[in-house]
Symmetry: C2
Subunit: 360 residues, 2 copies
Amino acid sequence: MGNVAGPGKPGRAGAVRMKDIARDLGVSVMTVSKALRGHNDISEATRQRVLQRARQLGYQPNWVARSLVSRRTYMVGLVIPDLMHSFFAEVAKGAAAVLEPAGYHIVILNSEEDPQTEERQIGALLARSVDGLLLASAQRIGGARLFRMLEERKLPYVLMDRLPAGARAHYVGCEDERIGEMATEHLIRQGCRRIAHLRGPDIPTGIGRLRGYRRALARHGLPFATRYVVRAQHNDEAGYLAMQKLLRMRPLPDGVFGYNDPVAAGAIRAILEAGIRVPEDIAVIGSGNVHYSDLLRVPLSTIDQNSSEIGRRAAELLLELIENKRTPRPRRVVIAPRLIVRQSSRRIGEPEAVSATAPA
Amino acid sequence: MGNVAGPGKPGRAGAVRMKDIARDLGVSVMTVSKALRGHNDISEATRQRVLQRARQLGYQPNWVARSLVSRRTYMVGLVIPDLMHSFFAEVAKGAAAVLEPAGYHIVILNSEEDPQTEERQIGALLARSVDGLLLASAQRIGGARLFRMLEERKLPYVLMDRLPAGARAHYVGCEDERIGEMATEHLIRQGCRRIAHLRGPDIPTGIGRLRGYRRALARHGLPFATRYVVRAQHNDEAGYLAMQKLLRMRPLPDGVFGYNDPVAAGAIRAILEAGIRVPEDIAVIGSGNVHYSDLLRVPLSTIDQNSSEIGRRAAELLLELIENKRTPRPRRVVIAPRLIVRQSSRRIGEPEAVSATAPA
DNA sequence: TTGAAAGCGCTACCAT
DNA sequence: ATGGTAGCGCTTTCAA
């Protein structure tokens, strides 16, 4: 069986190589290589012999060696702000559903919502020669340098969920202004008149949803009050604390639009703890439709962003970029948000789910 | 600046290589290689020159090439049943917190709780020459073949959360019998006398928790009734359906121990929908302490398994195995479970959290 | 249809 | 302190 490798060597030491098959069969390595890849200039007879011997020996191609010459690693980087936020977990799962069947593996990295960490991680991914990159970026406004670097390196990449203003890049996500608008208009239809917003960070999603919120208020002739907009960065703990601030305001708001579902869920906890009712006294809505929204203390109304679809579409787009390698003009895939009405905001009858309509 | 690469070439085509630095500086590639890696047989002067030029050109080592000769990829495979289950997302995050600072990247794969998918994925990981493997296995009892294969390939790996009976492998997780016992005994202390169990699948965790449940009943002289044990595989939907079956039994159970938190959360939904109170009529407890347990319709009592610690410890153990490459006898790291009492099971006063005590 | 030569970018080994 | 040679396992190119 040949092939004795130094003992204690790490990695695939001792693994079967083409060379071994070639020696056993008395043919050249080239013949084996071609036979295994189904090149059509190999006789059927030798092809079968090679395939059989390969199976016997349990041959597995060495991807590292193959990558070195083919310059393709069949690895894709996935950088997201937080794996624990089930919105991103779902995006990741959607992307995996497309990439794995296509033969790609995913290297996943958590930026922890920190632009510098993100940049470092992308650098590492580049050094690893990933074939492409899926990115839900944590860059604040003006993080254009990172994208310029990616362009220079000619690394195919697709932005997900967050589209930094002015980024000239492929993108898949929801229109954030529309999300803010839908959520706010829903609260207005439910009879709310003093609507507060627990706003997100200074990233495209946060800013877009805030803008949509303002637009909806304006359109319906409701006043915009700065003090009704409180920062709640990302998670339920922040939502809880921010809501406590809101609860000290007089008059109390009668509706709250949370930046995302965790923030909204945290807000509900704060409201209930204060002995106030949801939705009767304060109606609450979030965004993202995370999978446990239905199980929450008060089932949470939300704007569904179709997270797994975002992952899938982004992955498909990325594959296209990788395989064709032509870079057409930046494509924007916009996923329609959907209003999901649950108990946290239901004061008067309204259908359970409303599909997005084009913005007026 | 040299180095013109064919246009349209994929991957790192056009990237700066050691050769470029060497040419620019009039030294050999070897000198550059050593200087960059801090070999001490290079004069400080040349080392500085090399480092500076490398920085100027934005040199990044080619990991693929390096891997080919060093036989280390600095990649670790992470195979889990479901990224969307936040228990595993937390495990993954814990592992990443250890692996990334150590220079390793994580290739993540979802087995979807399917043993065959898992095996296929591990095969792919082997072909990729990952340096090690973290695995929360979906193998049913008797899936020893997979582990034998891993041993043969001498791939360092650590099992997490689930320890297949008889597996001779490194392992980090909670003692499942203890979990079942703690949960059940807690319900007994709360005054429950007809305790049902929504049991998990035929994997070590499911079987262990069931066994612990039985042990607790026996110890306290309570009868074990088969019909009070209903299968609920994994998720909240399954928990919901299984609980509906339980709700048709007479007499109704007055306590339910769910295989995990999603199952328990689904059960609560079914109970409340039936107009029955939690915890007054039926007390409920789960396991896993997923991060949203506190936000649920009725905040969920649970057994905390310290999921991120599981990921961290498993990663540390794996690093040891990889770096030392000696394979000591299989190590078992057992994390102590903790009882977390929330509203779903609180009928009489009991402290919020109780640390695990050694099993009697 | 088959295979020899060259080389991907890097490092181990040994000579200078 | 520095560098030449060889080779990791594979594929591309071109000749037989």
